[in-house]
Amino acid sequence: MGLIERFFKEPRWGVHPDDHKRPAADAPLRVLPPPARVHLPLQQHVGGAARPVVLVGQKVLKGQLLAQSQGNISAPIHASVSGTVTAISEVTAPHPSGLGLAAITIESDFTDRWVDSDPVVDPFALAPEEIIRRTAAAGVVGLGGATFPAAVKFALGKRLAVRTLIVNGGECEPYLSSDDRIMRDFPEQVVDGARIIMHAIGASDALVGIEDNKPEAIAAMREAALACPEVRIRPVPARYPMGSDKQLIQTLTGKEVPADARAAEVGVLVHNVSTCAAVHRAIRLGQPLVERIVTINGAAVAAPGNVFAPLGTLVDELLACCGLTEAPARLILGGPMMGTPLLHGRVPLVKGASGILAFAAHEAAIPEAGPCIRCGSCTRACPMGLLPLEMAAHIRAGDLDGAVGYSLSDCISCGCCAYVCPSHIPLVQYFSHAKGELSARERARLRSDAGKRLAEARVVRLERDAREKAELAARRKAERAAAKARAEAALPQEETT
């Protein structure tokens, strides 16, 4: 892109960190040697945890249902290897707290035998509802990291009559290249998955947004989409956070999603390229989501690259597959901008994990925070148009309501502000702290409201009981008095006769 063109076309928001995507992105996809054991957490998605339907000791085949979804927003979990269920217990969650998470452990029998599948030759002959049902049953969730159950989103898109499917091949996070790899190696799966999703939601066209730092992926996708004019490949400027839904929608369609609305309400639905490929496999091959491509990168990795691995594999085994040159100074699940720090490598690979980063000491060092010099870098970088420095100042002073007044709720935690801060202030940490505090406060308020309502209802009930008792007593007294009066009235009559 020429200098002039760049100047006018580059978005005003965002940052441009060193992407560190190569050489990992260029290394051919590797397949992980089958792990001896996998641990599949019941909660790998947004929504309710899945409920186990297998017993300890039970033999399972690859792709067999282990736990079914519970509630409206949930996803089932399937076996990622064939073998024996050895435990349903807790493993370390892929979360900074390192707390436990219920998981099903399978001891592999190394035969890798698939459960009988139900492939579909022509998905476009199926009713959209059937595609949605099959996607839900395959446990497909948003693989870009959001892990929202895909089928729930399809249903929403269908209900709101979405016209345009946006396929997110942005992959703006530095270091990560799993989406790049899936577009280079399996572009026809991505395109076919996108067409199946279009059929499911009733969309008429699809825009595939790919950052222009992935020319090989753009070329591969263009070729795969030659036969289907309704799927258009649209290179977008490489600018973090281009892969964020709202920013990608705006770049590709010019539409802005109102603050209180969902993307579907402006007629678009965003799905990640890896999700499209997973939908293709779920529908065409009848295979549930049990494997994914994960980027193993970072200066502590000997041979960085992308690995195709069963879900539930321990991070340690993935790192061992690529080799480590030194003990990682920092382990991250996801990208460096929005990823989750891992306390250790005994954490299972989950559906939403697009990358595992093992940083060497020099990469992991974050300079010490200094005072805010109000330079406004954060304001210029914020893709949402917020004032991070003002929000942080209010949060620092304990004035959470002040931060809410600066629209803290619109913050997408992309990390641009903290990245670009010359004083290296951990701004996102402030915002996460405040969001957590506010949601705790909101829960406490709901609870106290509920308590108050119950107490008020009790007072009303007691009053009503007392009143009814009094009325009853009064009525009985009146009846007795009436009976007595009648009796007295009857007596003299008798006397007279």
């Binding site: 960190p17 060193d18 900074p96 530095p174 709202k246 705006q250 802005e256 999603v257 109102p258 603050a259 209180d260 609305a261 309400e265 920092r330 991250i332 460096p336 901008m337 929005m338 990823g339 989750t340 720090p341 306390l343 940083f359 992991a364 974050i366 300079p367 925070a369 200094g370 005072p371 805010c372 010099i373 109000r374 330079c375 406004g376 870098s377 304001t379 914020c382 893709p383 949402m384 148009g385 004032l387 420095l389 003002e390 949060i395 620092r396 304990g398 629209s407 619109d410 935690s413 990390g415 903290a418 990245y419 670009v420 801060c421 010359p422 004083s423 951990p426 996102v428 940490q429 996460s432």
Partner: protein
Amino acid sequence: MKPAPGDAPVAAPYAATPNSVRRVMSIVMGALAPATLFGFWLYGWPAVYLWMITIAAAALGEACCLRLMARDAGPVLLDGSAVLTGWLLAMSLPPWAPWWIGVFGGFFATVLGKQVFGGLGQNLFNPAMVGRVALLISFPVQMTAWVAPLPILAAGAPGPISGLLITLKGMQPAFDAVASASLLGFAKTEMSRGVDLAQSLLHAPLQAWYGSRPGSLGETATWLIVAGGTVMIFLGTITWHIPLSMLLGIAAPAALLHVVDPARYLDAGTHLLSGGAMLGAFFIATDYVTSPNTPRGQLVFGAGCGVLTYVIRTWAGYPEGVAFAVLLMNSMTPVIDRYIKPRIYGRNRQGSALELGK
């Protein structure tokens, strides 16, 4: 809330910009350097000494405050902000001013202009301009004693030793340096005597296009100041909003009134090239801490600085107005930031959500 201590995980991002406060300050100093060197050449050794003394005083003032607060002064001084404050102040002083002007000004700038507010990032007013205005009000004679340029290698210019004596003991009669007024001061004085510009400008102090003229270091090297400022804009250290709006704020009323009555009002070009206009627009008003942090707010701020500069120069008692204008607009910064905010994605300027279907 403080960032989580020790090994406790801190939220992402785990990548950081190579930029730092020290780098920002270094770029600003680098951009100032050519103009400063030109000033040194023009005014010789006394200017060099005054520059060093002012910077040392500013740094010492900062260090003393940090010591009083039982903080380690070393790393704070290394961020370069105190040095830059002293430097900018030195750029605005009469180059042959006595040493105690530099000491008083430097100390005043970092102690009362910055550290009493809580240090870097906390001050409401531009520290260098606080120092300059304190000096101007306290020592009006020394602060308006300009000399005509006497290049460092010219015959009759003070050498390193005699230059030091000038700084320490005051102006020596042995040198050819002619006490001279700056153009704005000259015009104001003549005007107050009833001589209009048509007459007075005929025998005004010599002005060379390249900046050889009586004035402060920052007043003489106008083109080098502009060049340094432009480099900072290209490096992204500052944005164009404040410099452009401030210069327009000076030039627009100047041009208008000059057309109305050329005998009473100086032309826009003279206004832009005189006094601290360029230094103010590129280096003083753009101070991050004391200026608004949204582009639109910066436009308002810059325009305010420019117009106030012109008003003070033209109708107030002082011939030069940049320092006062910047300080006045500094006090408006919190108000500007309160009312001028960027539009949030998905919301209108008032902050309510956009309506669907529009």
